[in-house]
Amino acid sequence: MGIELLYFAWVREAIGKDGETAEPPADAQTVGDLVAWLAAKGDGYGEALGTRDKLRVAVDQVFAGFDTPLDGVREIAIFPPVTGG
């Protein structure tokens, strides 16, 4: 079963889509592993996801760390630090 990925702001623009369903490899244990696997796809993915400091993630719609396990996760959003208000 895949994980729903969502991209926002310049992450969305660099990757060129607002989301997709991913089937990460079996050795991807954490959100950080998933992001590294995506970044390795190159092109927009590398540009958007290469520098983890610039990114924030939400797991199932709650802010989370890159060390969050992927077990049982349905939705992961990757985006820059927020700038609302």
Binding site: W10, V62, A77, F79, P81, V82, T83, G84
Partner: protein, 148 residues
Amino acid sequence: MTPEIRIQPEDFEPGAEIARLEGLGGGAVATFTGLVRGEGGIRTMGLEHYPGMTEKALGGIADQAAARWALAGVTIIHRVGRLGPGARIVFVGTASHHRRDAIEAMHFIIDWLKTDAPFWKREEFADGRSEWVAARAADDAARDRWSG
């Protein structure tokens, strides 16, 4: 106390929002309204958000405020879409029996909203350029003042 939370492209009326909070009987109403500034040649401000998470994040911030201060009411409104200079972006209103509770809770909510609600701003300039607004360390510091 059920917070009133709205994410909408439409404008809102601060006077109408205050009237609702006044009607809750607390006696003290505090508000913050944030607008698009017209500086640096900005033509429009684009506001993107994460539907589904945004409502949860704002509800969680309102709940935190209600756990910390005695509140009769909370209103949070945030606009999305493309807004021109001078347009309202955000409104935070609180009602309480005590002015300090109302004011501090309002301040807390807008500080947390700035750093913990999934909105992103993009500035579009008159010369055609556009850029995503960068997060500010000062906003993290403002939120962190509320800890401890």
